[in-house]
Amino acid sequence: MHMNLNEKVAAIRINFERINTELTKIIVGQNLLIKHLFTCLISGGHALIEGVPGLGKTLIVRSLSKILDLKYSRIQFTPDLMPADILGTNIVKEDGEGSRYFEFYKGPIFGQLILADEINRASPKTQSALLEAMQEEKVTVFGTKYHLEPPFMVLATQNPIEMEGTYPLPEAQVDRFFFKLKISYPDQNELLEIIDKTTEDYKYELKGVIGADSILEMKSLVRQIPIASHVKDYAIRLVLASHPDNPHATEQIKQYVLFGASPRGVQSLILAGKVSAVIDGRYNVSIEDISGVAKAALRHRIVLNIRGETEGIDVDNVIEEIIESVKIR
């Protein structure tokens, strides 16, 4: 069906509402998380979901895979997981004549929606197997490049409190995630609803809402959303303000931050802002869109120093202070 531009933009918002409706059948609360997941999807980014066990991280991703009508792969990261287990490997095969040859056996990375569950439990070597796939949407195995099928999205989960037997993700790996999302603990009403849905005979059926083509089309359209120069300037100043050596950095940044956000942080802010604007029914990115996605886009890119770590400084508070300090010109 041919749609005009206005209808295409409207379709993005409609699709989001439909995804949200489907997910809320099984996910209680977490509206912001769902919005950010949709943003990641439309922006072509990957998300790192962090939360204590039992909050539904895996459930959300699994449910999303059903709604999106994408090839879904789940990789359970364990300390003994090898890169080949993710990427795939060449297997020696023998034909009918007795000749042997190598055949590439695709790993779980060759999907469209990848759930990297408890990603911090694997060794850095294995974690790094995702680097090329996440950045370039291709993998190289034994010198052979294999392109991944778009849209490609990695949704990784990790447990922040369980440190034993885990390997914190290296900075380069973390920076490749578009968003780092936190699942907040449900409040009383939400818990009540969770109980009702899980302990009773609650039946639900998730319907596929959009396919890969729609996602790719939306991804293309979102990049055309106009953004004013002063909004870009605001995003840049936000990122620069996260650096402790910046003259406009706040006292907290100077004291507790070791490294500020990378340029990927600005890219994330702008792209996420565009999706946020479309979801909001606008054709332009606003300051509010940028500041609204700032925590998700920057929290994993700001590295606290030892003082900040030991004093338990929350990066989200640091980002809030940055948003407060950067005035609209």
Partner: protein
């Protein structure tokens, strides 16, 4: 019309409103400045440091200064239209719709969605009222303006009420001043009239009266008369010179502008009529620049001039008498010209007391005076008119050298030589005395004329001045025109001399 056109239309409306708001802010700032400074100037005026005329000038200056401050403030507070739109977006929570659309339209950044954006911005602008775009906020500036208006109203209304209660006092003071000035002026006029009345007769007049009496009594010889008259003449000339110099100094000290007569280098050479003209000219000067002493000196100088003329004439007549034949000597014993003149002088003194124009002083033959001769009828003769009376000129003939009938034309020296008529020698003037012969030489027969060339030139110069005074020539141009004619006349005179 596409979305961009609609958007531009809405933006144009918005810009017009912004301009109106800017003008309002400019005027508000100007009013604040004006009302803020006005009380200070008012207090300065009340303290007596400013006169009412200067206060008006200050108010005009303040208005200009306030407008300048208003414009300057508006200029310094000036923001770009884009910044204005960002402010509206922020204030009305429009999420940068207007600013982004304006930026994309202004800089021509085209995307597939820019038209949708402009349409959205147009719709947003269309639904925004003026109240929302330019909200009326009561700020400290407005409060300050109200306070300043109240302060100014209080100050000026109190001043008006106060001046209304005391409005009669300044008029009374003015009336008193005017009456004092009038009284002083009247008193000074009365004093000057008294002074004129009580003025003592001239010492020379008394001397001449004595001499006349002695001559009638026959107690004095001709030589003694001659010597006495010569001494008188020298005294008169000396006093005349001193007085002229003093008058010259006074006029120079008075720094009188636009006074063409004063440019004549030798004031003592002025004739009586010239002095009269000078006096008239001084009267015409504005603002009463001439002190009374100058007027008195001019009058004295006129009297001395008349006296000098009289004495010179008497001495000339006595000299001529010495060359006459013996027959005349007998008749001279009965009545000499000097005694006749002295008699006339006595009469003239009486006339002088009556009127300040001693006509008889300048007329040695009052009985021969032409009754048809109207005083001042021939303006072109100038001072020569007086001398004409002395010698009893006939109608149309000058009694001065060159008594030919005046045709009113100016002739060159060569033309004069060729002229026919009473050129070389005039006919004898009939006298009461049979042997009284006056031999007068004209200008055409150079050599025996007893009138100085300077006097003749002076007459002509006076005539020029007379014309200048008579014609309606602006005062500022008289000196220029006079100098022009004088320069021409002097050159002509010099050329005539050289040609001869």
């Amino acid at each position: 019309m596409n979305a961009e056109t609609f958007f531009l239309s809405e933006i144009s409306k918005l810009k017009r409103r912004v301009i109106v708001k800017t003008v309002q802010r400019t005027l508000l700032n100007a009013a604040l400045t004006f009302l803020g400074i006005c009380p200070i100037v008012f207090l300065i005026k009340k303290a007596g440091f400013l006169e009412s005329g200067a206060y008006d000038s200050w108010v005009i200056f303040l208005i200009g200064f306030s407008l300048f401050v208003g414009v300057l403030t508006a200029y310094l507070q000036k923001k770009g239209f884009l910044a204005f739109l960002i402010d509206i977006d922020t204030r009305l929570k429009l999420k940068d719709r207007l600013s982004t659309a304006y930026e994309y339209q202004k800089f021509g950044e085209k995307t597939d969605l820019s038209d949708l954006l402009m349409a959205d911005a147009t719709d947003t602008l269309h639904h925004l009222g003026t109240r929302k775009l330019f909200p009326l906020k009561f700020s400290f500036v407005d409060l300050g303006l109200i306070l300043l208006i109240l302060i100014n109203m209080a100050l000026y209304s109190s001043d008006y009420l106060w001046s209304g209660n005391n409005s009669m006092h300044p008029n009374q003071n003015k009336l008193e001043k005017i009456s004092t000035l009038l009284r002083n002026y009247s008193e000074s006029r009365i004093e000057s009239q008294k002074e004129k009345k009580t003025r003592q007769p001239n010492v020379y007049t008394r001397e001449l009266e004595n001499l006349s009496r002695k001559l009638q009594e026959g107690s004095i010889s001709r030589d003694q008369v001659f010597t006495t008259l010569n001494r008188f003449l020298k005294d008169v000339q000396g006093k005349q010179t001193r007085l002229a110099n003093a008058l010259d100094t006074q006029l120079a000290t008075a720094k009188i502008e636009e006074m063409p007569v004063l440019k004549i280098p030798t004031l003592q050479n002025l004739s009586a009529s010239n002095l009269e003209k000078l006096k008239m000219l001084l009267h015409k000067l504005p603002n009463n620049q001439i002190p009374d002493s100058v007027h008195r000196d001019i009058e004295t100088l006129q009297e001395l001039h008349r006296l000098e003329t009289l004495l010179s004439q008497i001495i000339d007549d006595i000299n001529e008498d010495t060359f006459r034949n013996e027959a005349l000597t007998e008749s001279d014993r009965h009545q000499t010209p000097g005694s006749q003149y002295l008699n006339d002088l006595k009469n003239a003194r009486d006339d002088n007391q009556r009127s300040k124009i001693p006509a008889k002083f300048s007329s040695p033959r009052p009985d021969r005076e032409d009754p048809n001769q109207q005083p001042g009828s021939d303006q072109s003769q100038g001072a020569g008119r007086d001398l004409g009376k002395e010698f009893g000129s006939r109608d149309g003939y000058s009694s001065l050298a060159g008594r030919g009938k005046s045709s009113g034309k100016k002739k060159s020296s060569t033309e004069i030589e060729k002229l026919s008529g009473p050129g070389t020698q005039d006919e004898m003037i009939p006298s009461q005395m049979q042997n009284y012969l006056i031999h007068i030489r004209s200008l055409t027969a150079i050599g025996e004329s007893r009138i100085k060339e300077g006097d003749i030139m002076r007459i002509y110069r006076q005539e020029i001045e007379g014309v200048l005074q008579k014609e309606d020539i602006p005062l500022n141009y008289r000196e220029y025109i006079k100098q022009y004619f004088i320069s021409i006349g002097l050159k002509t005179e010099e050329n005539a001399y050289e040609s001869k």
